[in-house]
């Protein structure tokens, strides 16, 4: 199950528009993405998918989102790699601050998911702090299941919604 999910994930990334690898997303890329994103869109699985997994219309900065397994705030290898890259970017852009939003899929119950979302955000923050980013530059918030990236009721949508989402202030 987990392996299949990872497979889907990779396929989604490969199928994403453009050829930029996940490490090569620059501010200008994301700015362009912002400009063409659907205004205020909270639904529309299609638009999110076409933008590339992890770089959908909610992605507003050069630091990438990290994703989690079901009911977990544990950082998988991929997530740790992404956070390491994010930390490097933070170090070379020392004036920047980011907000880390914790999100969950909408299965399970909403009160528990608010708490789970916070753990996802703080886990990501703690990882970057250990790599030398000042904690004061990393603000966390949780949305639980309140702001899904994809409202679909399938594993692809749920996987997109289980994330720590980075916004550069």
């Amino acid at each position: 199950m987990k392996t299949r999910l990872r497979g889907l994930l990779v396929i989604a990334m490969m199928a994403s528009a453009g050829c930029s690898s996940k490490t090569a997303v620059t501010s200008s890329d994301s700015d362009a993405g912002q400009g063409s994103s659907l205004p205020g869109s909270t639904s529309g699985a299609g638009s999110a998918a076409s933008r590339g997994y992890g770089f959908d219309e909610w992605q507003t900065g050069p630091v990438g989102d990290v994703f989690f397994d079901y009911d977990s705030s544990i950082l998988a290898a991929e997530a740790q790699q992404r956070l390491t890259e994010n930390a490097a970017w933070m170090k070379s852009n020392s004036a920047k601050q980011v907000v880390i939003e914790g999100h969950c899929d909408d299965r399970g119950t909403s009160e528990y998911n608010i708490a789970l979302g916070e753990r996802r955000a703080t886990t990501a923050k703690e990882f970057m702090t250990r790599l030398g980013v000042a904690p004061s530059r990393l603000e966390t918030i949780t949305y639980g299941e309140e702001r899904p990236f994809d409202k679909g009721q399938n594993e692809e949508a749920w996987a997109k919604n289980r994330r720590a989402h980075f916004i550069v202030k």
Partner: protein
């Protein structure tokens, strides 16, 4: 501004509670109630439905007839909502006399249709106000059980009807009912999640907040004085406590987030806070001050709910991995695991009328179902099944019913059921999603 005269201590309690509610939520009005007769509980726990003949109160015509009709409708709906009665049509010759006065009840006719209890009365106009004299008889013993007058302004006829329902149910069951209680909940009707409230039966829906943000988990204090809820108005989920008398709002001035408050009593509530790093449950005062920390375990601790005496707290903890429900003794701090069945048990709600805890289980099938378990871990019972996601159980103040959220017909809507899972039905018709209902303790 409110007058009431009566001579029964029990009735005083009911009326006082009703008056408290009215003084909180409605404009004040005048109530005068008198009664005679004796109160006896003729019902045993677990008995079948009470066969009741409800006779429309006699009226001389005109305005009085309209009042009688509305009172009759309110009482029928109120008693119907309780699911305690089998309401029978009155036999044509039930009143031997036609004067509508006390006496003259044809007990033979009532017995022949199988009625156990007969209720009837007369409506009159007294000093511009509605006056309803009600009588309740035990039809087998041919005994007068209750004789009481309900008086108030025309616009409060519904409350008069519910006052009679409350008296009748307390008389017959020996227990206070839920008439006069409120349900607070979240609705996305306007496009953002706001707090709403309605009467126990879904009537009188009104929007309480208009923050255009995300508001969650509203809960009224046991005395109805405060409304506590979590809201994103500050940008992060924060606990707010609104005094409903002067609308002053307090919050917890700490970093981190707040999740899912619950009242322990009129002066203390508990919520999850994360300002110390890990998510722990804290006891908080209505002014936002922190009394003390209650939990101390790595991992998520959320959704406190208290036993009626406030001595024990059930809550959700992921200390062993997946979320399960635990019970903590408030004095000793000793904690034990309550749920062992199911891998994902959340949203506990402790019955205010007994040591039962309702909660929801996310099952392997993908369904979420509501279960009830005794506080000692025995008597596990599933109340919903086969109808998608059923969540957020909350007990009526008398413990006879549970309000919950279900998406069985599409969107999330509010439903009610008896505490044994019977008679599940929609509570109200409102656009958008409705969720996180909480039934008030006062009535």
């Amino acid at each position: 501004m409110i007058t009431c005269g009566m001579n029964s201590r029990t009735s005083k309690g009911v009326i006082a509670a009703v008056l408290l509610l009215w003084s909180l939520f409605l404009s004040p009005f005048f109530l005068h109630a008198e009664e005679q007769g004796e109160y006896i509980a003729i019902r045993k726990q677990g008995g079948g439905k009470i066969a009741l003949v409800l006779d429309r109160a006699a009226a001389k015509g005109g305005k009085e007839s309209e009042w009688a009709q509305e009172f009759d409708k309110t009482v029928k709906e109120g008693l119907g909502f309780s699911n305690l009665f089998s309401i029978l049509p009155p036999p044509s010759n039930v009143r031997a006399g036609s004067d509508g006065k006390a006496g003259g009840v044809n007990f033979g006719a009532l017995s022949s249709v199988g009625a156990e209890v007969y209720a009837g009365g007369a409506v009159s106009k007294k000093g511009g106000k509605v006056n309803i004299d009600m009588e309740v008889y035990d039809t087998f013993g041919t005994k007068l059980l209750l004789k009481k007058s309900y008086s108030g302004k025309e616009e409060h006829l519904r409350s008069l009807g519910h006052a009679f329902c409350a008296d009748l149910i307390e008389l017959l069951t020996g227990k206070k009912s839920f008439f006069g209680s409120k349900i607070v909940f979240i609705s996305s009707k306007t496009g953002s999640k706001e707090v709403y409230r309605c009467d126990f039966d879904g009537h009188g829906v009104e929007q309480v907040t208009n923050f255009r943000s995300i508001s969650l988990t509203p809960v009224l204090s046991p005395d109805g004085r405060y409304l506590a809820y979590t809201s994103y108005t500050s940008g992060r989920p924060t606990l707010y406590i609104r005094n409903l008398q002067d609308n002053k709002i307090s919050s917890v001035a700490k970093n981190g987030v707040s999740v899912d408050p619950s009242w322990r009593n009129a002066t203390e509530l508990a919520t999850t806070l994360s300002f110390e790093g890990d998510q722990e449950i804290y006891l908080v005062r209505p002014d936002g001050g922190i009394v003390r920390r209650l939990t101390n375990s790595k991992g998520i601790d959320v959704s406190p709910t208290f036993s009626a005496d406030g001595r024990q707290m059930a809550f959700v903890s992921a200390r062993n991995g997946l979320p399960q429900i635990f019970i903590q003794d408030m004095q000793s701090g000793l904690t034990r695991r309550l749920t062992y069945s199911g891998r994902y048990n959340t949203q506990p709600s402790w019955s205010p009328a007994g040591d039962k805890i309702a909660y929801s289980t996310w099952e392997k099938t993908g369904e979420i179902n509501i279960f009830v378990i005794n506080a000692d871990g025995s008597g596990l019972k599933r109340l919903t099944s086969g109808v998608r996601e059923n969540e957020s159980p909350s007990w009526s103040p008398d413990g006879s019913m549970i309000v919950f959220t279900s998406n069985r017909q599409g969107g999330k809507k509010l439903y009610v059921m008896s505490s044994n899972g019977e008679n599940q039905r929609r509570l109200l018709q409102v656009d958008g999603d409705q969720m996180q209902p909480s039934w008030s303790l006062f009535r």
